[in-house]
């Protein structure tokens, strides 16, 4: 069982690391899609099927599309692709910071006394999740609906072309 976890972990970490370090944006995005598929595989291994399918549907099916469209709509000219001055310093400091955070987190995980007994796999049928979402968590569901609506409207307004008064001089 741990062998599967090691393979999934390697996929997730390797694709994320390479995605964050490539110069080619599209390859970064597609490696990130591989990362999200790896995360979905982790959810399947842990037995959370609904979340795994939702992860694929939302991240691989929709967020990847938004990211790729945004990359295509904001492309720079070739001449502009020079290395930004100061990027090496930024990279080194970022690696140092994330190394420190990694150190703290790993220390915390290894020091905590976690239960060593693996409980049997909990059953999470869709019916139970639905009953939870419509019952105790209904308020959160409604708030999530409001958030999504506001985000939809906000994204449309932010990205829409500005209406100029001199737009109707076309033949």
């Amino acid at each position: 069982m741990n062998a599967v976890l090691v393979i999934i972990a390697f996929t997730i970490l390797a694709s994320a690391a390479v995605a964050m370090s490539l110069r080619n944006l599209i390859h970064s995005a597609l490696l990130l899609v591989a990362n999200w598929l790896g995360v979905a595989a982790f959810y399947l291994w842990a037995g959370a099927e609904f979340v795994a399918f939702a992860q694929v549907l939302i991240y691989v099916g929709a967020v990847s599309m938004i990211v790729l469209f945004a990359m295509l709509l904001t492309r720079r000219a070739r001449a502009d692709a020079a290395v930004v001055p100061g990027s090496i310093d930024r990279a080194i400091s970022a690696l140092a910071v994330s190394g420190a955070v990694a150190g703290v987190l790993v220390f915390a995980v290894l020091q905590t006394h976690l239960p060593a007994v693996t409980p049997p796999a909990p059953a999470a049928t869709v019916r139970q999740l639905g009953a939870q979402l419509m019952g105790p968590q209904a308020a959160a569901l409604l708030v999530a609906g409001v958030i999504l609506t506001v985000a939809l409207l906000g994204a449309v307004i932010l990205a829409a072309k500005e209406r100029n008064s001199n737009q109707d001089d076309a033949p």
Binding site: N2, M20, A46, V67, M71, T74, S98, L105, P120, I147
Partner: protein, 103 residues
């Protein structure tokens, strides 16, 4: 090593990779992708505790992850709309140049 610490180490590793990416890249879209990686790492954590944690009958982990995925998708949409708006203004999406409050 039991699975739970391994899963937690995986999510910590993914979080730090996302953090490094978000801090070091100058392209706004890649910073947003780093943030998405961090959110995914948190979701991994929730599912790891749901599966191997102390109260196996609680579905709270899954519910939280469902909401987290939904909110992350909404945040990605708004963030990328912002990126497009910045691009329209300054013709590139280098974050170092978006340093002024007034356009």
């Amino acid at each position: 090593m039991s699975p739970l610490p391994l899963c937690l180490l995986l999510s910590s590793g993914l979080f730090c990779v996302g953090l490094a990416g978000a801090l070091s890249r100058s392209n706004a879209i890649l910073v947003l992708l780093g943030i998405e990686l961090m959110l995914n790492a948190a979701n991994l954590n929730f599912i790891a505790f749901w599966r191997f944690g102390l109260t196996p009958s609680a579905d709270t982990g899954i519910i939280f992850v469902i909401f987290s995925i939904a909110v992350a998708a909404a945040e990605a949409a708004v963030g990328l709309a912002l990126v497009i708006a910045i691009y329209r203004h300054q013709k590139n999406i280098r974050l170092q140049e978006a340093a002024r409050l007034k356009g």
